[in-house]
Amino acid sequence: MPTLTLRAARIPVVALAAGALLAGCAGMGGGGSGGKTINVLMVNNPQMMDLQKLTAKHFTKETGIRVNFTVLPENDVRDKISQDFSNQAGQYDVATISNFEVPFYAKNGWLLPLDDHVADDRAFDQKDILPSMRESLTADDGKLYAEPFYGESSFLMYRKDVFAEKHLTMPKRPTWRQVAELAAEVDGARKGMRGICLRGLPGWGELMAPLTTVVNTFGGTWFTKDWKARLTSPEFTEATNFYVDLVRKHGESGAAQSGFAECLNNLTQGKTAMWYDATSAAGSLESAKSPVRGKIGYVQAPVEKTKSSGWLYTWAWGVQKASRNTDNAWKFVSWASSKEYEELVGRTLGWSNVPAGKRASTYANPEYRKAAGTFSEVTRRSITSADPRDPGVQPRPTIGIQFVDIPEFSDLGTKVAQEISAAIAGKQSVDSALEKSQKLAEKVGEEYQDD
């Protein structure tokens, strides 16, 4: 009876499949969830992952509010947030947005103004938030639309031990010309070590961020006050030529494909002697596992014509206007951006993991200063001296240091970065890259000239 045995053997298989179906059915997500629950959409950065780990044990335990996190990589999270917020679909109550998005998200009416909540929540202590951070999260209507989770500026990092071997000293306030000379001196100081690492990876948030700060301090700008594109101006050209020459002569190998992550790797593995990038890199460089811990010196962003040149960036919490849980959403924001949360991270995960760069009190905390001693003061000074409304030598049409705060900039900046990255790769001259870029920028500028 072969059919019988076959059939007998099938029964467990069928039962298994049915069981799996039922299990799938029971666990599968259907509609929305009620009760005291909020949905948070955030970028996958280490600080956010720490927050996710601490939320249930602390925030939910204290308030009874359950938090559902959705975590995505940076580009995906931007897409998802703009999709959910522009449609006011209300899937997410809170999302991580940066100071790039806040001004035009607010203008489009996608964000909840937070002023009333801030005024009611004395313990949050809004005055403690660094002024440049507050400024960059306030829209043109003067209302506050987001609270910073952590903030960063940019500074110059260098290998103290390598500089000492070569009998070189890093000035406290270096100029870019000095940095270029130093890069030539330390290039090849050790086997496989280049002079400096600078981002060359296309992307408005990659190559364009450090390069725009160089342009600012060389006296250039993307747009004049009345939205005339200035990418072929002598200052913009000089700055770009300087940046491209420096990275081509003394920069990392494969520079046209190197971004923040690649440069971080290069400095960690001793493949570069200097690096100009985000202040938030210091946390990884000084972490317990880092092979270069204690060997790195930090100085302010190199300058030319301006007094300071660091950028300003923050991942902040914005509350969607369409959210039906705004009070609970604020409670979460207030907790995540609080002094208490910083203390909690310091005590449980270590002080170098604190989401810093947003509160004055962080830099007065002796325990934080002990853990972040080598870079905390430079970071604080870089953030406080950054002026998002006046980052260069001429008046600007809109807010922003390492970006021009218009929605079109993510596309424009990326296209221009592609041209300049091609120049770094040696595929075209800087002049031809900038001529093409100027045409792109003119088109965007014309849209705003009539306003």
């Binding site: 929305g32 949905n39 959705t70 940076e74």
Partner: protein
């Protein structure tokens, strides 16, 4: 390699002088082809092996360049994936994926089997046009339908609902399933069906007792393909789900970060997420090979 060399080894010393040069050449060509097959096979498996190895490394070892083969092994990546240290819980997305894949595959089978019957055994008029119509529904790039589907889902309140994905996956896989099943069912001898009908068997009996057993490998192959396609679908899952209905591939992307190291974690997560499909594939291997080669030689 052993299975390849052993059959040749014992015969070689005896037959060296005796074999005519033509046969020797043929055998050499066979060995060369076998070697090539092994090389190509290894080339294809290598990334997966590499992923498996990396998933057991620590983040720092996974990021070293050149990569190290002998780095100490650790389960940290897997611990992180399963949220042992208080991270995200991977079970809801895994269950969502399982549910979406199983339900959509079941629906596809229920719909594709009768359709394929009408296109192969009891052919409808102009059946080739019908086949082409099914195929033509796959010609629109998926991304072109994304925005309308999103707006529809938003306005009907179906956003972040797994049943929307079940419907989408069913409709996306249906044309492929119909095409596959059509070719499998064409293999069923018409005489057999006629004989069954002569004996008084009605359509359901014919389908269940005659057609299904013969086409079983084909049905298995079709369902596995549908299951794999729905299990791995990312584009719709990424846009249409969020908090409650997130599927495993969308969850997987969450391990990628632009600050800090993530390679070992992502590899561990990818391993876990590809295991169910791999297991299903291995379990159905015999049927699958039968099924996939069933309609091949015609």
């Amino acid at each position: 390699m052993t299975s390849l060399t052993t059959p040749a080894a014992p015969t070689a010393p005896v037959s060296v002088s005796a074999t005519p040069p033509g046969a020797r050449r043929a055998r050499r060509r066979g060995a060369a082809l076998g070697l090539l097959a092994w090389l190509v096979g290894i080339l294809f498996v290598l990334p997966v092996v590499w992923m498996a190895l990396t998933s057991f490394h620590s983040e720092a070892d996974a990021a070293t360049n050149p990569p190290s083969l002998t780095a100490p092994l650790t389960l940290d990546g897997y611990r992180e994936f399963f949220g042992v240290n208080g991270g995200a819980d991977p079970w809801p997305p895994l269950l969502n994926s399982l549910g979406a894949s199983l339900f959509s595959t079941a629906f596809v089978l229920v719909l594709a089997l009768p359709a394929a019957y009408a296109l192969s055994i009891r052919r409808v008029r102009k059946w080739t046009d019908v086949m082409f119509f099914f195929l033509s529904t796959k010609m629109l790039p998926v991304v072109a339908g994304l925005l309308p589907v999103y707006l529809f889902a938003k306005n009907t309140g179906f956003l972040d609902n797994i049943w929307l994905l079940v419907i989408l996956y069913t409709s996306m896989n249906l044309p492929i399933a119909v095409w596959m099943m059509q070719s499998f069912l064409s293999e069923v001898p018409v005489a057999l069906i006629e004989a069954a009908q002569m004996d008084g068997a009605k359509l359901p009996t014919v389908l269940l007792r005659v057609v299904a057993p013969i086409a079983a490998p084909g049905i298995a192959a079709t369902s596995l393909i549908c299951f794999i396609f729905s299990w791995n679908e990312l584009l719709f899952a990424n846009v249409l789900t969020g908090v409650v209905a997130q599927t495993a591939p969308a969850f997987l992307t969450g391990f990628v970060t632009s600050q800090g190291l993530f390679l070992a974690q992502v590899c561990a997560a990818s391993m876990v997420i590809s295991l169910p499909v791999l297991a299903a594939g291995f379990a159905a291997q015999d049927k699958l090979v039968q099924g996939l080669s069933l309609g091949a030689v015609k």
